[in-house]
Symmetry: C2
Subunit: 340 residues, 2 copies
């Protein structure tokens, strides 16, 4: 047998028209009445021939193929930071499977033409019913183009571009970070420092905002709290802070985890939390003892799929759906009472 059977083949076998086959197989008896005997005859013929609908044709004709795209701007499986992205992907897959959707990973143009040619590359996502986007930058022009065309999409991570019209599922870093500061304040800490990355991603500025808000409403001197530093500068910074009477250090956890690792190196000789309290805005892999919070990555993947499928099926052109997920506080054992 050369070709896969089509509806036309079933029609011929059952002695009906292709239209009838389509109606019966898609279950679309919307106003149409078909004899039970015909239905059975067609279904049997379909079974015998081993018919499977061609998803491409289905999509072309009906603009639905139960596939959702995942567009990643870089690699979908980054080796260096796999611990970070893997749970998100796992969550996406889990929910997609639950919703009966296949996944298309758009990685194709990464090697041959530069992915920088986003304008064209991104448009390929239209083969799917909708698409998840994933990555730090937002190439506004093509995203705007997709949105304008009514194409369902959801960003993973909070996005403020395009005047807030981008649907997303993000993480409430502001609240989670504020909670960490509040905990330190409750433990009596007054001299707190926050160590953040040099990079200006939204997830970084959100954490900073949470830190500053909580600090100022606790009446702490906000001026000196925040420090930006590269990994190499961390030891000297800690040294200085010790001299200034700092009793607690909070560090941002980034996707590579290098900053928190550098801090943990720098405090090696110091007793934690007796001499110095430590907290991480995030959770370094393999360090459950660190106080901080857990980013709900798996949930992030799951919810983004839900939101997307919602968009696809509801087809209401209403307001963009955006949602923030709460982090889970991690008590840990590196926050203690402030000394003296």
């Amino acid at each position: 047998m050369a070709r896969a059977p089509r509806q036309a083949d079933i029609a011929a076998a059952a002695g009906v028209s292709q239209t009838t086959v389509s109606l019966i197989l898609s279950g679309n008896t919307d106003g149409m009445r078909l004899a039970e005997s015909t239905r059975r005859r067609v279904l049997k013929a379909a079974e015998t021939l081993g018919y499977v609908p061609d998803p491409v044709a289905t999509r072309l004709a009906s603009s639905r193929n139960h596939m959702i795209g995942v567009y990643t701007f870089a690699s979908a499986f980054p080796t260096a930071v796999d611990g970070f992205y893997y749970p998100i992907l796992a969550g996406i897959e889990e929910e997609a499977a639950a919703q009966g959707q296949d996944l298309i990973l758009f990685t194709g143009t990464g090697g041959l033409e530069a992915r920088s040619d986003d304008k064209t590359a991104i448009r390929r996502t239209r083969i799917a019913d909708g698409c998840l986007f994933f990555g730090r930058q937002v190439p506004e022009e093509p995203i705007d183009w997709l949105l304008g065309g009514g194409f369902p999409l959801v960003y993973i991570g909070r996005r403020d571009e395009l005047s807030g019209r981008i649907p997303y599922v993000g993480v409430d870093y502001v609240a989670a970070s504020a909670a960490v500061i509040n905990r330190l304040v409750a433990a009596g800490h007054q001299e707190i420092r926050y160590l953040r990355s040099i990079d200006d991603a939204l997830s970084s500025t959100d954490r900073e905002r949470g830190v500053l808000t909580a600090a100022s409403s606790a009446g702490l001197p906000v001026r000196r709290i925040v420090a930006r530093a590269a990994d190499a500068e961390v030891p000297a910074l800690v040294e200085r802070w010790r001299g200034e009477g700092v009793t607690a250090v909070v560090v941002e956890e980034t996707d590579t985890g290098s900053l928190s690792a550098a801090l943990m190196d720098a405090v090696r000789g110091i007793r934690v939390p007796e001499e110095l309290s430590l907290a991480v805005l995030g959770q370094p892999v393999g360090h459950p003892e660190l106080s901080g919070f857990e980013v709900p990555r798996r949930e992030l993947g799951r919810q983004s799929v839900r939101l997307l499928v919602n968009q696809i099926t509801s087809s209401s052109t209403g307001d963009p759906e955006q949602m923030l997920l709460d982090c889970i506080p991690i008590a840990g054992s590196t926050i203690g009472q402030a000394p003296c």
Copy 2:
């Protein structure tokens, strides 16, 4: 909301036919001569309108869409064994990107209808230009159906079903396992035991074959070498072996890693390698000290994509391509000279 421009729109704008637009945009001047002025006019109109070819229609018309499927009989991102599959997926993605192919993860039917309905589910893979398969069992009927239809596919892992007609990229467990035994023999070990899983996957029997071949050609008593055991039976087994004067234990590494973990637990009180040498046919994550070999997982992913793309582009209906990859020996520090 304006609809995405089609070739017909360009045709109207440039005052030519849709055929001409298609010819010019696809660069398919195969035997066709078109005036340079027309070409420029059409290209300009396409640019102005922001035309992007519809991949769905392209695929429907031409049976090529630069997408390769990945069909995993279970979850593509299994949580329990992520260390095992992740590198393979990463390799697949890497090579797919390099080859300009997008990836379709077929996970869709996992939740709603049981994936056990493989016959139908597998056929969905035909939306892609070809598909990678991934998993222990081979559902022969649908795979045969795909092969018969000339659909390009590659299995990850050695497959002997369907009289060897299944293209695959596998791992040469036989040679790698034999090498481990040879190393033990060279270190003077005579009383060796091989602990394997109860399961009868090809990767298990291959390892056993390598062990037995090497043992018999080294003149070892082959009869008592192999032991099948569940995790819970391992401690008792090790106890008995110690009484029998066994000097080296080799254990199979499976995807869950539970058997090797059980063995490592059971030998906790024994000095390794002074009293007992240990080797693993594979490499447990986080245990670089264990002697054994590394399964080239990333390479497995990469090569499978190459083989598949080869099949897709060559279109020669010749013999199925099958290949075995070599493992990388890991010296480790758990093999020592045989005592006494």
